[in-house]
């Protein structure tokens, strides 16, 4: 059995453009303010938590490939660069074979809406520059071009629990020695149509956007003090297994909590949506953090933030271990545990 370590983490969220901003918002524990999102045809706007503009224009936006990209690529790239910073500063960084797994649920909605709107108005003038940016694979392609030494890149689509499938895929590539390190990124952007869809499904949820990234590796010397201990099975919702049963099966595989462990759950503002996960973790007596309550419903980005928050808590020495509970909306429940690496084994 091989050991897998987390070499770095990255995040962009409505709290700001670094893990530190995410950490600050979660530590504060207060829901971030919401903004009005005009909805065509409605007098009353929808509500969202939008990602603020970065304090300084990120340098990576000068890369030719990122010139016309939409925010989802900016978020994914920023989180990826932050997570991979430790690797990129190493003298042999260029010899690294990087893997990239970008996980999405809603994907490139901004340009998709824009392009389809242009098509409906007049397909003859629909922009050929916009269309390629509508595909799910666009962010992974751009991040690969930015990082250069990328050997493999996949885009996975699913409900938010698929982020941990992305982590499992990255682990598989590492174990098969196809890559030396793997960035797993969860990213989303938002606009009125995503907010509208969420309004139809869960009126208490506030849509948001951003990205989170983990950089995985096998070399303990590259570890940021975090080890991946467990990813549970994917407990798929089906005619045989309800969402509640799937969440409980995931919980059983993660085991009972021990002192000094943190739970990063996916509970948001909707009791109905959170019921299955709440039931699964009813006996959890330890500390927990619920990023969606603070940041909003960021779909795949929110799942990534849960894992980033878990890793950050472990790396910062606050907890010996942290669990991430990903009970998806319509696919599956998966959980993971991250543990602290003793300093001696990092060296």
């Amino acid at each position: 059995m091989s050991r897998i370590f987390v070499a770095g983490i990255g995040a962009v969220s409505p709290a700001g453009w670094k893990v530190a901003a995410l950490r600050g918002a979660l530590d504060k524990g207060e829901p971030l303010p919401v903004q009005a999102l005009p909805r065509p045809g409605w007098e009353k706007p929808l509500l969202a938590r939008l990602v603020p503009n970065p304090p300084v224009r990120p340098e990576f936006l000068a890369h030719p490939r990122l010139r016309r990209t939409s925010p989802i690529t900016h978020y994914a790239a920023s989180a990826a660069l932050e997570a991979a910073a430790g690797l990129r500063s190493k003298p042999d960084a260029n010899n690294f074979r990087l893997g990239i797994v970008v996980c999405l649920q809603s994907g490139c909605v901004q340009y998709s809406c824009r392009f389809y709107d242009e098509t409906l108005k007049n397909p003859a003038t629909a922009s050929p520059l916009v269309f390629p940016e509508t595909v799910y694979a666009a962010p992974a392609s751009h991040v690969a071009a930015l990082l250069e030494n990328v050997a493999l890149a996949y885009s996975l689509v699913g409900d938010p629990s698929a982020f941990l499938q992305g982590v499992a895929l990255g682990v598989q590539w590492l174990e098969e020695n196809r890559v030396d390190a793997c960035l797993v990124i969860g990213a989303e952007e938002t606009n009125w149509i995503t907010a509208d869809a969420l309004w139809h499904l869960d009126r208490r949820a506030t849509v948001t956007a951003g990205a989170g990234a983990l950089c995985l590796c096998r070399d303990p010397k590259l570890s940021a003090g975090i080890e991946l201990a467990v990813i549970t099975d994917a407990h798929t919702f089906s005619a045989r297994q309800s969402r509640t049963q799937a969440a409980q099966a995931m919980r059983r595989q993660l085991g009972k909590n021990s002192p000094g462990e943190l739970l990063c759950d996916g509970i948001g503002d909707s009791p109905r949506t959170g019921a299955a996960e709440l039931a699964a973790w009813r006996d959890w007596a330890g500390p927990r953090v619920s990023p969606k309550r603070i940041l909003g419903e960021g779909l795949m980005a929110a799942a990534a933030w849960q894992c980033v928050a878990a890793c950050d808590a472990v790396a910062g020495g606050k907890f010996a271990a942290a669990n991430a509970s990903l009970v998806g909306s319509n696919q599956q429940a998966i959980g993971a545990r991250f543990t602290a690496v003793a300093q001696a084994s990092c060296l």
């Binding site: 045809g41 709107d117 509208d196």
Partner: protein
């Protein structure tokens, strides 16, 4: 557990195909498709699914879906929620499942490739949201059922199995990657059996997108022809059931072919254009051969990605010629997109099933419209129906964004 996993077997398991389902504009199922591909029949016609009156190109390869789906475990309400893409996926999966003779199961992984999933429902959602902003009827259902993982769950429910669902969306390489990923799962001991495939339906947005790029052929799709002027779009689905050779033998299953090699990588040259010298294409073909333990001399046919665009075919021709070396002069190549168009996320899976057909029935699929080879082609293009001795074939799939995949299949005799 997804991690830690049990140790990989010392010798990777051999992976065979025991069921295949295919839906294209040539027909529903193996038989009409095999007849059509063998004859090189082209299935293009004026688009009827949406308005193309203001588009530059007005034809595509549309599937004639049956008005009623064959019986499965899906109830009437679920069936009513399937869009064209979902219906094609369920049909293809049903054919593969029946052929394999698999029974209801738990913990059976499903790996699918798609670029658009239920985009047709997404388009309906968008139109209603804009044109009737105060009308909410059906919107919540569309918001759920356009998601590919929900369509994948419909497949599970239809065939009464459950297990982890993985949706790979590497653009037009998705179907090839899905089968390659499934092959990996079995080879490295993470599963004994996997259902895998790819699908995509023709949609207004995607059609308009390719038209806006002027990537669609206003004449005829002729991959690798010096006069080629673009691709043609199609729609469809293909699903295969993969299992270890041990499992297939234990069940006494009929084996359609063996998957022996897979390669995948990413071309970082451009979002929509391949590198002119096809470096990554060359790499994935080499990877696939290395994993299969064979050389280009042992490949009897290449089912090329061959979209019919100037840039793709030139790059792929360069890479195939370079990879095959002296073998190129006698290595038959064709692109079945000349018959059914480019199926995007479904392409790699449909072309995988075409490869199984060539291995099972010992013929090569021709491009009937092909006349004048591109100078970069150092290999013969199959342009007439022909029987052939086929023991090993290679299938290429490349996607927007640069992900390339190559699969190698071997005859089972």
């Amino acid at each position: 557990m997804l991690f830690p996993t049990t140790s990989s077997p010392r010798t990777p398991a051999r992976v065979v195909v025991t069921g295949a389902g295919i839906i294209t504009a040539l027909g529903i199922g193996w038989t009409p498709n095999a007849e059509g591909f063998r004859a090189g029949r082209a299935a293009f016609r004026p688009v009827s699914q949406f308005d193309v009156s203001r588009q530059r190109v007005k034809t595509a390869a549309e599937v004639d879906l049956p008005s009623i789906l064959p019986p499965t475990r899906l109830g009437a309400r679920s069936i009513a929620r399937l869009d064209r893409a979902g219906a094609m996926l369920v049909l293809a999966a049903l054919e593969a499942w029946r052929q394999a003779g698999w029974e209801p199961a738990e913990n059976l992984p499903l790996v699918l490739g798609t670029t658009a999933g239920g985009m047709l429902l997404g388009e309906s959602y968008f139109r209603q949201a804009l044109q009737q902003p105060l009308r909410h009827c059906q919107q919540a259902t569309r918001a759920v059922y356009y998601q590919p993982q929900v369509q994948a769950r419909m497949v599970c429910d239809a065939l009464d199995f459950s297990g982890p669902i993985t949706i790979i969306s590497n653009a037009c390489a998705s179907g090839g990657n899905a089968i390659g990923h499934a092959w990996d799962l079995i080879r490295f001991g993470q599963a004994e059996r996997v259902v895998a495939g790819g699908y995509d339906a023709l949609g207004e947005m995607v059609f308009s997108g390719f038209d806006s790029l002027q990537a669609l052929s206003p004449t005829v799709c002729r991959p690798f022809d010096a006069r080629r002027d673009g691709l043609a779009l199609g729609e469809g689905a293909a699903v295969v059931t993969l299992e270890t050779l041990v499992s297939a033998r234990r069940r006494g299953a009929e084996i359609l072919g063996e998957i022996t090699g897979y390669g995948t990588s990413i071309d970082q040259h451009h979002l929509t254009q391949p590198h002119p010298q096809g470096g990554t294409t060359l790499m994935v073909m080499k990877q696939a051969c290395a994993s299969a333990g064979i050389t280009p001399a042992e490949i009897d046919y290449i089912n090329a990605h061959g979209t019919g665009t100037v840039l793709n075919d030139a790059s792929e021709a360069f890479a195939i010629s370079e990879w095959a070396g002296r073998r190129a002069a006698t290595l038959p190549v064709s692109s079945t997109k000349a018959s059914v168009g480019h199926l995007l996320g479904g392409a790699g899976a449909v072309e995988a099933v075409v490869c199984l057909m060539t291995l099972r029935e010992q013929w090569l699929p021709p491009e009937i419209e092909f006349e004048t080879p591109d100078p970069a082609c150092k290999f013969p293009i199959v342009n007439k129906p022909q029987d052939a001795r086929v023991n090993a074939v290679l299938s290429n799939s490349f996607g927007f964004g640069g992900v390339n995949a190559a699969l190698i299949f071997r005859r089972w005799a």
